[in-house]
Symmetry: none
Subunit: 158 residues, 2 copies
DNA sequence: TTGCATTTTGGAATAAAATGGATTATATTG
DNA sequence: CAATATAATCCATTTTATTCCAAAATGCAA
C-alpha cells in the first residue's frame, strides 16, 4: 500500500493544533510509534517526517562536534537544521500542535485553513494560497521539462 | 527524540539571567547533569554546550601540548577558547546567568529580548536583531541553492 | 574589624499558556 | 434513514513562565 500520498484540507484551531487525517496517522504509525519531526522548509511550508526518516537525513558523528569548534560553515549547518526543526508526537486523539516559532514563516496561524500534502516520505502543511502557487510552479516546471525532452529527441546526436 | 532543536524567544532579566525553556533543560539533563559551558562565538552569539560536548570539541592530545611551545598559532587558538569560555550549571529553577564579560560582545545586556536557538549539539543565544540578519543569510543561501538545482534540471546537456 | 549599602541569588506566588479529555456536531457508509 | 466513525469545539486541568520579594553575599568605607 502507498504511504504518505494525497491531499487534505485541514483547519488550524485556536490553539494552533490540527487533526491529522486518519490515513496519514496510519502511515506514521506503521514503521514508527507516532514520533514525528517538524521541519520548516525554505519554500515556506512545514514538513513533518517520521522520526526515523529525519534521523536518516541528519545522521551525525563525533567528527561533526569537533568541527563545530573550528568551522563557521559547520556551525551554520547545525544552526539551520537545529533552528528549523522540532520533535513532537501525535496525540491519542490524532492531534499535533504547530511549533509557535514556525507559524509566522509558514503562514499557519491559529484559525486558518491549510492543506496537508503527502510527499511519499512524510507530509507537508501548506498555507492554502501558497499551495496554489506551488502547484502552478510544479506544473510549469514539468511542462518545461517536457519541451526539453522533445527537443532532445530531435537532436541529431543523443 | 531529537535534541536541541527549535527556537524560543527569551527575556534577559535585570540581573542578566534568563529562564531556559523546558525542552532544552530536558536535553541538557539527558546525558549530563546540567553542567554547561558558555562559549562566545566569533559570529557574535553565545553558544551553550553540555560539558561533554565541549570537552569533545576541545579534546587535546599530547601532540597539542608539545605544539603549544613551538607554535604561536597554536597558542592563539588555546588562548581564544580559554578566554571566551566559562562553565556554569542550570539552577533548580532552570535559570542561567550570562557571564558578565560576554554580554557586550554578544549584545545580550540585562533587560533585552533575545532568541535561544537549538543547534543540534547545544544551543545558542542571539541578540534579536542579529538573529534576524543571520536568518536572512541562511534563507537566501538556501533559496539560491534551490534556484541552482532547478536550473540544472532544465539544462540541455546533463 | 565592624557596619552599612549594593548587588546577586534563590524562592514563592501569580498569571498565562498549553495540554488533554469529553461532548457535540458533521460526514460517511451500509 | 440510521448507525458508526470521524472531526471540531469547548472546558477543565496542568504545566510553564514571569514577576516580585526576601535572604545572602560581597564590597566599601569608616
Amino acid at each position: 500500500m502507498l504511504s504518505f500520498c494525497g491531499q487534505d484540507r485541514i483547519l488550524i484551531d485556536a490553539n494552533g493544533r490540527f487533526k491529522m487525517p486518519q490515513h496519514f496517522i496510519t502511515d506514521f504509525l506503521s514503521g514508527g510509534n507516532g514520533e514525528v519531526v517538524f521541519y520548516c522548509l525554505p519554500e515556506g511550508a512545514l514538513a513533518i517526517y517520521p522520526e526515523q526518516v529525519y534521523a536518516e537525513m541528519r545522521k551525525r558523528c563525533n567528527e561533526d562536534i569537533r568541527q563545530a569548534g573550528m568551522s563557521m560553515l559547520k556551525r551554520r549547518d547545525l544552526r539551520r537544521f537545529g533552528a528549523w526543526s522540532a520533535s513532537a508526537a501525535i496525540t491519542p486523539q490524532g492531534r499535533l500542535t504547530l511549533p509557535n516559532e514556525f507559524r509566522q514563516n509558514t503562514l499557519l496561524e491559529p484559525g486558518t485553513d491549510a492543506v496537508i500534502v503527502g510527499v511519499e516520505i512524510g507530509v507537508e502543511i501548506w498555507n492554502w494560497n501558497r499551495w496554489q502557487q506551488e502547484l502552478k510552479l510544479i506544473n510549469e516546471h514539468e511542462l518545461d521539462r517536457g519541451d526539453l525532452e522533445l527537443a532532445r529527441d530531435l537532436k541529431f546526436e543523443q
